[in-house]
Amino acid sequence: MLEITHKPESPGITIILKGHLDAVTAPQLEKQLDDLFRAEHAHIVVDLGCVAFVASAGLRVFLACAKKARRAQRGLALCRLQPQVQQVFELAGMTPLFLIHLAPENAHAALRQRSAAA
């Protein structure tokens, strides 16, 4: 089970996930993220504070999202990774691919700064 909610944080948006990001729920997240990319938010922050489990299917969604963000020149950041989820990202060698922050407000601030500097 994965609950997906949004919180606008102009000019970006926070996506708040709750539950498990596994082989069943990863396609649901992928679809939501695609919709958000189409909606042209300047940047997207994914809040993983209430996600206790991320499988490789979940990592692949984030990887695809990182590629889309690069292509569309949108900001993407992750925040509040639980220790076991952080470990999965590290073992996959995926931490260098993302901006990872402790709190969503820090992630938004970093993305705003980054787009202002660009």
Binding site: H20, D22, F53, A55, S56, L59, K67, R70, Q84, L91
Partner: protein
């Protein structure tokens, strides 16, 4: 304890037959993790077992095309958790699958092979045998 006082030895083996559907694989993996936590196994080991079972079972369903449900068991022994998975899918030895390259540029990343690569780093040993047309996998996770 029962009234006669003879105390049967408890064997802590948790077992499931898992149908070949992603939903069932994912649910069985989560249930195994939950079982281990309830038995007092540390969170790190319970999480590693959950992760390893999810990856191995979904991999078998996607690529091994087994005809019958996979047999999953989880056993708690003094210093480790032993996960056994048996299936009648195509022969596949995950202990021999090469580590995927992990370039820092997301555009150069191929999506495959990531799950098994992570599992192998999380667990202490992986043993594979092919017997009687079945894959037998034994994963040992330090507690």
């Amino acid at each position: 304890m029962n009234p006669t006082g003879d105390c049967k030895e408890q064997t802590l083996v948790w077992q499931r037959d898992v149908p070949n559907r992603i939903e069932d694989a994912t649910a069985a993996a989560a249930a195994a993790g939950h079982h281990l936590r309830r038995q007092g196994v540390a969170g790190t080991a319970a999480h590693a077992a959950h992760f390893a079972i999810e990856e191995m079972l979904t991999n078998t369903i996607k690529y091994g095309h087994p005809a019958h449900p996979s047999r999953l068991s989880v056993e708690i022994v003094p210093d480790s958790v032993v996960v056994r998975i048996e299936d009648d899918g195509q022969e596949f030895d995950p202990s021999k699958s090469p580590a995927p390259p992990l370039p820092a540029n997301p555009d150069e990343r191929a999506p495959g092979g990531l799950g098994i690569h992570i599992v192998r780093q999380m667990i202490s040993s992986i043993a594979y045998t092919r017997r009687d047309g079945r894959n037998h996998l034994v994963l040992t996770i330090a507690r």
